[in-house]
Symmetry: C2
Subunit: 199 residues, 2 copies
Amino acid sequence: MSDRRTAILEAAATVIARRGVRGLRVEELAEEAGVSKALIYYHFEDRTGLLRRTLALVNNRAERYTAEQAAAGQPAAETPADPLRRLEQALLLELQDLPHVRENSTAWGELRASAVFDPELRGELALASVIWVREVADQLGEARPTAPESALTASAERLTALLEGLSARWLSGILPLTDARTRMREAIGVEVAHLAGLD
Amino acid sequence: MSDRRTAILEAAATVIARRGVRGLRVEELAEEAGVSKALIYYHFEDRTGLLRRTLALVNNRAERYTAEQAAAGQPAAETPADPLRRLEQALLLELQDLPHVRENSTAWGELRASAVFDPELRGELALASVIWVREVADQLGEARPTAPESALTASAERLTALLEGLSARWLSGILPLTDARTRMREAIGVEVAHLAGLD
């Protein structure tokens, strides 16, 4: 992807996190990206195309900062060998008071909320959600190899939906971050104990 | 409250569920409520006042349809004696494909999301959240009277945040309603088993 195309998508995520999907205007986007409006029209055929590519960027960034911290982003000694610790670490990365995590989570929430009114992003959102649930189910399966597949998927669906619910409360300033992190950590323990009971 | 004041707030919830908080315009609100713009300015001193009162209405409606169905809304025989069945019934009322449930949940989600950008509703949102968590913790406590208070509150915080996460996925069309209901029902069972283990 060209640098300027990427710059436009990065700027779109920033503006969506600031104004919401419905507040995204091409003037502000051009200013944020430091490009002309004409260049935006040149790179993206329409608003839907721009939103789809921005959603993909937001997803890739979330995977990247998860993968970075889990691997190279911190000393190797801190990457836990225990699969449950790795899962906990990956999920808690989304509950961090860092500007890029806030921006990415806010933009994701806004893109998802736009699908309540407008079905155009539903396919991509559903796919991203299925992939994420699959990854978490796989990590749970490493920790509990004898748990039934359907139970792993159900636990992963609950843990990811809970993370979205806690993240939304934190981002809107109605739940302290430490409480959100504690509830998430406890939930992993509760679900894993449940899966152990099914062995 | 006067009938016309109530009509304005009902219309505000409808318009917010349709356009989001940032899409709420006084022209559309007046048309939806069937009143003049001047009457809206007469009843509500400013936008913040209007949003606060609409949030209160949305909360009261959610309590009302929960209470109605749990009591008079259905035959008395169907109001479960078991405290866990009552809790399940109350939580699942928010996951129903009925126009007023969709509208109320969508409006609540939009009002909450507005607090990410704008702190003016945070106090009311945090209070509504605390009250809801308290109610669910009390119902869990009826089922598990020997569980520690802090564990009941933590479970209630997880169950309510999960419900918000599942509801957001359902409303945005990325999770079928039956799946959302199944995950919620299972989560109650998992949390209650966890609380039983703490006895």
